[in-house]
Chain length 254, copies 4
Amino acid sequence: MLIYSDGKKWLRRAEPDKTFQSHKGIVDFREVIGRNFGDSTKSSLGFDFWIFKPTLEDYIRHSKRTTQIMYPKDIGLILVKSGIGPGSVVVEAGTGSAALTTALAHFVKPTGHVFTYEIRSEFIRVAEENLRRARVLEFVTIHNKDAKQGFNEKNVDAVYLDVGDPWELAPQAAAALRGGSMLTSFSPTYNQVEKMAAALDSEGFIDLETVECFERRILVREGKSRPASRMIAHTGFITFARKTLRKKPQQSET
Amino acid sequence: MLIYSDGKKWLRRAEPDKTFQSHKGIVDFREVIGRNFGDSTKSSLGFDFWIFKPTLEDYIRHSKRTTQIMYPKDIGLILVKSGIGPGSVVVEAGTGSAALTTALAHFVKPTGHVFTYEIRSEFIRVAEENLRRARVLEFVTIHNKDAKQGFNEKNVDAVYLDVGDPWELAPQAAAALRGGSMLTSFSPTYNQVEKMAAALDSEGFIDLETVECFERRILVREGKSRPASRMIAHTGFITFARKTLRKKPQQSET
Amino acid sequence: MLIYSDGKKWLRRAEPDKTFQSHKGIVDFREVIGRNFGDSTKSSLGFDFWIFKPTLEDYIRHSKRTTQIMYPKDIGLILVKSGIGPGSVVVEAGTGSAALTTALAHFVKPTGHVFTYEIRSEFIRVAEENLRRARVLEFVTIHNKDAKQGFNEKNVDAVYLDVGDPWELAPQAAAALRGGSMLTSFSPTYNQVEKMAAALDSEGFIDLETVECFERRILVREGKSRPASRMIAHTGFITFARKTLRKKPQQSET
Amino acid sequence: MLIYSDGKKWLRRAEPDKTFQSHKGIVDFREVIGRNFGDSTKSSLGFDFWIFKPTLEDYIRHSKRTTQIMYPKDIGLILVKSGIGPGSVVVEAGTGSAALTTALAHFVKPTGHVFTYEIRSEFIRVAEENLRRARVLEFVTIHNKDAKQGFNEKNVDAVYLDVGDPWELAPQAAAALRGGSMLTSFSPTYNQVEKMAAALDSEGFIDLETVECFERRILVREGKSRPASRMIAHTGFITFARKTLRKKPQQSET
């Protein structure tokens, strides 16, 4: 349940014996349960608190974070460009706080599945909690395994890499992907992107495309509309590449 | 089927008695049928032509256009922020060339549905063709009707407006939306955004957010990586707003 | 004198009987005086402090502020596009903290002059102090007068407006400008820009151009170079227009 | 003389026995000579042609080009940040089409000077022509010499590098610069920027800053204002660094 009041939002589970406290007063959850989404209740201090069904973005923005999370602008572009949809089976390396994992699970469910790899076991507990809150945990399998040892899955519809050295996973990604399917890699630095492009090329991937995406808020006020003064200038570069059945060029020439 | 050769792509149906001709030679579809995605064939001039399964983006980029189509960067942001997923039932006004329609249908299928409204009947035939090519026509119903007369559907999970005067559809959108659900409106000018914000406010929508999104390609070449020289500077502003069950403020004060 | 240590900078006057104190120790100005620019001295805590001659940007960034100041990216564009150079005589309305005033004076000196108008007398004292620190006060005349009553100067080489309602000064700007010279107006909102364009058109200005300018820092580190994470998303829109000798169209048609 | 008609501009010298021809008719220069800037004349087809005094930007945009020229947005930022003004003596390597040279000469004149180095002698003739048209040739000395052999000038107020391998000129720039003065380097790729940063660091430069600058046009029309659809996405990265009197760290450690 998403609670909204005057520009602020909180993600909370509505439990009858609990209350929600903010600087604008206390909301008694017994007042909330049974109301429809889009309805409001008054806090103890008389402020309106609105009740909404969380969107995918709400789940991601309000997730617990152990790492820098991926932004909606980047997740959205990845969803449109990586060749998946409901029913897809995909693999991800670098679960982190599970922001991308949540989005992937949300859009491949109910018949698809996300297999995600994370070596840092302390992150897995938080990732699971975030996935459970977003109601997609059942569509995700988290492997506590180093993807450099290879992905367990084969013939998957897409592979997503959000790790520091994605080029070391290019062969494993190629082995897991169905022919013609898309690999997506997310990296903050130019140097990573350049190394990744070389690795993808030598693994027989083609149609490489690297993009960066910016989002700017517009402050709309009657008679004085203007862009927001500050924005996120950089999150990361996203590289897309299609797996071919071609043998590696270097090997075929030997 | 997506055909790729040296940076160019074509979307074609593989029919056994046909050929595909380009300036790089002729490809005989009999050579192609039976091959796996990710495999390649030689054209009559000896060039490699690769065969891929089209992604959602491929379908949209290669659709027939009667109008300016929505870009992947904007569609992606809308998917993440508008509160939908597989199974959602949504309404769209302004089918146009069906780019957003295709994306919505792709991600709400197989149990969800898109009801889309288009007054210009000459656009509907092209929209249907694009939806059929993208294999989502069965998940879409096109109404040749002016949405100002109201949407037929009620309690929908999201409403999308891509029309020149979205503020005239704010009451109809409010009537169609389930409480707490998201309205999304796409407009190229500031003036439209400002009028829309006023209309949404008076219809009891809250949590308004307007954004613009930029995408820049990066040309990755070993030792000489740089951003592309040109980019799309503007497509449109996207406004999101949540429907409340609040009566219109103007009315409640009377 | 600009003092630099480990990424931080301070603008100070080197006075022999004073010291400069920071969290990295005390710098005795007697140690500094007599050194060349580009040289360094040790603070009491053993850190290097470097001495530089301030650039125009240093003066602007370290000025005292009573208002939002203009950014180097915007000032630079204005310098190149507004048709001025050493020797130009220009008029400005809205002195504010004198950031643009400083830049204009810096580049029209020693034979040019800036006449600037400011109605808020409490700002003028700070503006004077900033101009004196930047060593350009002698090239500036500050009028404590409302520019709506008209500019005292005629046949000037450029007019700059940085006020909330620039459209109310379009006739006064036209009266002050030499034929063919450039008017520059800086405004944060779209609505101001639209009103200004209409006013300029009716005053016989032509060749209107409105732009916005973004600056993004790049963090260059060997092997891990990337854009900075945050940036200024908006300062203002800049409108340029050339004054013609044409009578106002509205009047000529009566 | 700048000629303007309906959004198009031409830079021409007004010679009494010549005419100017465009698709909107012929303009007789005898009609033009003697008119004030800001005045207009009718072409043979009855269209208005306006006469303006060219700005620095006009000279640059209408210069003859042998190379990619620098954009006003980048030139402006460089002017504000590189520590120069009227009277400065500066050195440039990579004259190219002399766009930056023109701007530097324009703003250091009449008492300052630009010494610029260009190895491709075929470019020098065009550069001279562009500088003459912009009326700044007398403030510029072009050396047809490889700057790797060292700059002739010492104690200059600023050095500008617009060459493919600026890191090879870092020692020469350090030798030419007055202590504490600014080096500016312009490069299109990330890799160049990274190499340059390493070279500057080892030559004792500090306070390195790298930026990129974007300019977006706004189409202002009453009731339908919006950003332009396309823009230049990338020209180059600009690196600024201050010269210290420090010995190179590598050498001092030996």
